[in-house]
Symmetry: C2
Subunit: 234 residues, 2 copies
Amino acid sequence: MTSEGVLASLRLEAGATKHAETSTWVAAQLRQLIADGQLAPGAKLPEEALREALGVSRNTLREAFATLHAERVVVRFPNRGVFVAHPTADDIREIYRVRRFVEPASLLWSPSGPTEDLAEIVREARGAAEAGDVPAMANANQEFHRALVARAGSERLDSLMKQILAEMRLVFASMASDPRFHAPYVEDNARIVELLEAGRAADAAELMADYLGRAERQLLAACKVPGYLGSRPR
Amino acid sequence: MTSEGVLASLRLEAGATKHAETSTWVAAQLRQLIADGQLAPGAKLPEEALREALGVSRNTLREAFATLHAERVVVRFPNRGVFVAHPTADDIREIYRVRRFVEPASLLWSPSGPTEDLAEIVREARGAAEAGDVPAMANANQEFHRALVARAGSERLDSLMKQILAEMRLVFASMASDPRFHAPYVEDNARIVELLEAGRAADAAELMADYLGRAERQLLAACKVPGYLGSRPR
DNA sequence: TTGCGACGAATTGTTCAACAAAACGCACCC
DNA sequence: GGGTGCGTTTTGTTGAACAATTCGTCGCAA
């Protein structure tokens, strides 16, 4: 995926769209490209090339950069430019620090509503696992955690979680992804739903905390192996 | 506090400062003015006037707006402009929804470190209360919650809490602030520190959840009285 | 008086062109 | 081979322009 290809596809899409609030639209486009992995972690986002590809002015593009920067999707080095965020080991620790607070809290203290949506996501993940469809399984796992936090009913926690999961995707994009990574967690998720349905929220929260600890250790270990793309760009 | 006065003081400060990254600096200035209550909730932020007062270009100002918008300090109505955020009753409910997750979680699951800083803040709050210094007491109370969440050691939760407290200041700025509002909570904070020191984190978390519920109800009730500034501008 | 539509003024959304300052790349020299 | 200096590129910021939208206000009719 040469950056040339990315720019070309952007050019295509840009022509076809009417934009009401351009900078918002631009931010969404870039967010999408990054989430899809078409713009890899650490990649530079040069103003001139993107401006041309998106067919917007540099000012509008820079406004979009400001939003993405606030979302931590993108990092800014003064006078050097904007880069796709590239999580370090410390970032991983930070991510899991947050998750170990938010996710068990959500299990414990969310208004106890129906768990059918969670069960459905688990079924999807199992299906994908059996079909050997790793991306679908990874997606379903992410969706599971998103749905879990959504139970809290807080817009702000939702968007925090969305950001965190976006950063998780960057983490996965940064390392040679072992297909077997996501598999064990499908069953953990299933168990969590069971506990929740049985009214054993405290046990579910404990399992979740444990599970997150395991995942963190696994990712940190993977950081140290050669497969992990070096630290900062340059 | 005429908006004229605000602009004049901005003009003064603008001249004296060297700005390395101007848009960041502009965002910080505005954030400060809003936090201080010099720009009231619902106030319009006209581009031309601010541009002139800050001595920056409209583009730079708009980039700062993008940052503040992402922080929810400021609201954008397309083609109408940017306004200081003006929390509604729903926003208050949302704020406390988040706080009831984050703060008890922080009490329960933060690495158990020294509580000396918390105790110190409680002493400050008591001092301010005795001196009848309401703003200082309100500040100390806010600082207490900030310090509590800081124990989690997560940069992201820190900034979430910082945003939440900023929005709380907007809530207080929106209503005729009863000086007696903050007082009872000083002693609750003290009790929480005691429980924490005694290793009774679960009790502390429970007290906190209860306390937050009380505060929310009180604020929601205050919303309904005439003192509260109407809903959205226009 | 009150309500309503229209017109002109002000403001926003977006683009373009320019320039200083900083970082980058590269040939050059020790 | 490893620093050094210089021209080139990119970023940070400004200023001006213009279409689109909203705002304010005036006049008119019920």
